[in-house]
Symmetry: C2
Subunit: 220 residues, 2 copies
DNA sequence: GTGTAAAGTGAGCTATTACTCATATTATAC
DNA sequence: GTATAATATGAGTAATAGCTCACTTTACAC
């Protein structure tokens, strides 16, 4: 079903009273719960309505179709994540290269630690093919990283700057993304960020970056 | 709808005559075509049978259920990929660290260049949650990389060897995987492998690795 | 209180799915 | 040729999906 990917027409009806706003929130919360706990297969509109304790009719009063529900869920999660990203980007502007890389990683880590399970499920949800959604973050990161790299061009030895940006952004994304399920401790302690920063800075500058003391945890 | 993941009981009937073996091949081919061209949503048993030009009855004569069909498709693709992997692993045994890394990348690149679209779709197919299938390759790569790293322990400055293996394998997988759609030229020319090798070796050894001439393409 | 619109209900429609089975066709064995 | 097993067929079934709509209940305006 939902073969022809109808896109999220705006809500059939905008909730006006507190009661209905609460209903919408309940529905969204139920949707998230089902996705996280039971996976996309179990994510049916009937089930969501049931779990939310409202009738399917109510659900379709605020969401024109299933995709719209998913969309709104993503929109809210995205919003939560991108909160504060501007400040970070600003901070990166006047920072040395190593710090730029560290900030990019830090931002990525933060993204993944806000409701990590939901984040993971959303990134694997079929209707958007994984391409549209997580790619949106990466894309934004890419352009910011590119700007930062151009400002520090002199320190970077990699000939093809686009390639450098590509390697850095995808490395960060993959390493962090998988760490949520495979190396959570290293993620939280900052050890992973430490390693990856060292690796990437070394790659970019062409100079060896001394490993910090392997002893106590790094910043953050 | 295939919620409770019944696993691939062996084919209901083993094809004995040439005619039926051809039927099976046709079905598998149609399955692959549909997956690649229309995505998993369109991958229904009825459609596969239709595209293959056989009746659904015939399909269910050789595949006990939908998952079994998918399984067999994966099995065949996997087989094509892992062909020759042993030789590579052997080659890595007596090679220097840089060469080990390069071989790991090379293997990964090869995996992704055999029917790349199919590879990508299979890695995103819902029933296996992406965890089971591609993870199988990565896992095998992980253990081989780990062995190789242990043999070269002296050259590696990273304190936590597991962490090093984790970073290297996931970096390789992500960078190569995405390059299929984003940087195919660099993938095929070897430029990407070049960059990533330099980065990873630098990371592992803690020493700067001079970039090769940015001019003509690298090995292979 | 009364009118009106917002909010909420849920049986049921339509479409589609994975899968079955009684039957027909083709090939091999002798 | 005839028997027997292999192969192929496709209308039909049960389940479940997304979604509708005629209707009831609740809240606000005056």
């Amino acid at each position: 079903m939902a073969r022809a990917k109808k896109m999220a027409a705006s809500p059939r009806k905008l909730p006006e009273q507190d009661r209905s706003r609460a209903t919408v929130d309940t529905i969204i919360a139920a949707a998230a719960r089902i996705l996280v706990r039971d996976g996309y297969d179990a994510f049916t509109t009937n089930r969501v309505a049931e779990k939310a304790g409202v009738s399917i009719g109510s659900l379709y009063q605020y969401f024109p179709n299933k995709d719209a529900l998913l969309s709104e869920l993503m929109r809210r999660h995205t919003h939560a994540i991108e909160d504060g990203i501007e400040a970070m980007a600003e901070r990166a502007k006047s920072a040395p290269l190593a710090e730029v890389v560290r900030i990019a990683i830090e931002h990525n880590v933060r993204s993944h630690l806000i409701d990590p399970e939901l984040h993971r499920v959303l990134s694997e949800v079929p209707p958007l093919g994984k391409l549209d959604w997580e790619a949106a973050f990466t894309e934004r990161m890419v352009s910011r990283v590119r700007d930062a790299f151009e400002a520090k061009r002199a320190e970077i030895v990699v000939a093809d700057l686009d390639l450098a940006v590509y390697v850095v952004t995808h490395t960060v994304e993959a390493v962090v993304h998988n760490a949520v399920t495979e190396r959570l401790a290293d993620l939280k302690s900052g050890a992973l960020a430490e390693e990856v920063t060292r690796m990437l800075v070394g790659y970019l500058t062409g100079k060896a970056v001394p490993a910090k003391r392997p002893s106590r945890a790094a910043a953050e």
